[in-house]
Subunit: 349 residues, 2 copies
């Protein structure tokens, strides 16, 4: 692993032995099944309770299922996994706690709101590239009913949702990172910074997150001396319609044009003919399931060569938001490629 | 770094070039100043609001101050830090978010409840040992007034506290990990597992956490073929009186006697003549400030040779606790030594 020590390259790492994402799974709910990616899920649960008594227990099932399917698809057992990076949107990440405690696997909790899959994949890849474990899992989830009642209104209240609102995905993604010659590979990563542009509207997460995504993408491209067109897709997590426009506009101010190859998981998961969707999908499970259900299979098959996966997290707390505080955000970037070493790029240093 | 791949050694790592904790700071409040470790703090804040408008903003100040003092004591600037691992007890870790966003430093959020300092130090040490960055910070905090109103009762309510209750510390600790020949050094780490013994009482965190601490300490000792007496102290995070007794009892069942050299940060921070303290101190800031204010200076001076630092986290969520769910817990272990390579131990493999 080469450490890029220039100022702009801080916390950007090129992986010398690009780790492979050897197994992955996506789990979703009824609405996710009805969207354009419905056939990309390994498992669909029509019951929002997942046959449990509470939505929170239901979200735990999402993570439990996602890890189980990823292990099964990789012909792996619990003992084959050294440790798991996991987290979710719920207070104290209980979706993860109660999902993962079913497995006898050491665990490191992470919190990055909807950027969690980027953060987990970034950390897992750094670990495997440096032989800190042989096989590491990253997992995350979100659930419409748990998230809405925690962050906004209980769904039973039937509150009106403004056009800027996004629909929290009921979904999870899990993946296994290890050394292997099978694509896809993680080639480089960039640790994000907390960015605060003073957005205070809990119904406009896209606007809050776009500046963080733009900051990280800019830092990544500069550190690796790469251009947007080196990637088939620059994939943001869940900026939605509003945030995606802002993201492209912000980068354009720095003379970086991503309009041609930017896409957003929040724009891919649902049919926009469904008016409930408003600005698009959101939640940790959105970026995680679109990555594990759509992009990783396409990269594995070589249909897509390179993506820059940039899940974005709005670090929203209802407590401090109601005290008038803004919603700072963060975005971590992970370069995933169908080839181990297919771009002859120079480093800025 | 040597990877211990035996079954019992899973997720245990010996650091080949033990990283050094070169700078550290502890920040506290009025009650912490009045305890036995009062003179160990770099900064005491008598005002629980820290000259801000809310307790949550106050907690952010704790982290902001802790990082600033650690940097100052190490003659470091923001740009010298590659990234920060940080988290706290508050929903969405807002103490950390609003503390760290003041610095222009990449950030990776972690969630391990009161085990956060162990988790951050573990990850920072693995990073530095593998040259993933040159200099990494770990930070965490807790605040009595923010934690009590989030997890139990707003303090204004004046609720009665049972004898098993612990007093959440208003404190923070921050430390800088890098390669150096100056003690103390991180020699080995063990990633914890989520352990659930079906404790449901939010006023008895010690009982919830003791099994996780016992599990991790047992795994560490087996993986490294070490004995409790190899350490001057086996330091748990905040088990308090109840949890400490349980911890020793649990290990005794496995023929591991830690009674002679076990200590607990929750037993060290306050005077027990203060009846409010009940079972002892707790909170992320308890273990973090006792580590950074007391143990690290003693290790630096060589007064203490070896400790096994085991901050313990109760993954308590009020939402699911009120639904009748238990309080699973986790504990990560970090071996900190005054010498880089002073124990001639054999690995189990």
């Amino acid at each position: 692993m080469i450490f890029l020590s220039e100022k702009m390259a801080r916390a950007c790492f090129k992986l010398t032995t690009p780790p492979s994402i050897t197994a992955f799974s996506a789990v979703g709910g009824k609405k996710e099944n009805e969207g354009p990616l419905g056939n990309c899920f390994d498992k669909i649960n029509d019951d929002p309770y997942f046959s449990t008594e509470t939505y929170e227990q239901g979200e735990s099932q999402l993570q439990k299922q996602a890890v189980r399917f990823a292990l099964e698809k990789g012909s792996l057992k619990e003992k084959d996994i050294d440790f798991i990076f996991g987290g979710d949107l719920l207070n104290q990440c209980v979706g993860t706690t109660f999902g993962i405690m079913n497995y006898n696997i050491p665990f490191l909790g992470i919190y990055g709101a909807c950027s969690t899959m980027s953060e987990g994949l970034l950390l897992a890849s750094l670990c495997i590239d440096n032989k800190i474990g042989k096989r590491v899992v990253a997992v995350t989830s979100s659930h419409y009913c748990t998230a809405e009642r925690q962050y906004r209104m209980p769904i039973d209240y039937g509150g009106q949702r403004p056009p800027t609102a996004q629909w929290t995905a009921t979904a999870a993604g899990a993946l296994v990172v290890e050394n292997s010659d099978n694509p896809p590979f993680v080639r480089g990563v960039c640790v994000g910074k907390i960015v605060d542009m003073n957005v205070t509207d809990a119904n406009n997460m896209g606007a809050a997150m776009a500046p963080a995504a733009a900051d990280t993408v800019k830092r990544f491209l500069e550190a690796f001396s790469m251009k947007p067109e080196d990637f088939d897709y620059i994939v943001t997590g869940d900026l939605g319609k509003i945030g995606s426009t802002l993201f492209c506009d912000l980068l354009e101010k720095d003379n970086i044009n991503v309009r041609e190859n930017h896409t957003d998981c929040g724009l891919m998961l649902y049919n926009f003919s469904d008016t409930d969707v408003n600005s698009g999908a959101s939640g940790c499970g959105c970026a995680a399931s679109v990555l594990c259900g759509y992009f990783l299979p396409e990269l594995q098959r070589g249909k897509i060569k390179n993506i820059l996966f940039c899940a974005t997290g709005a670090l929203l707390s209802t407590t401090v938001n109601q005290q008038g505080e803004p919603i700072p955000s963060i975005c971590h970037a992970v370069w995933i490629s169908s080839e181990k070493n297919n771009l002859d790029f120079k480093f800025s240093k």
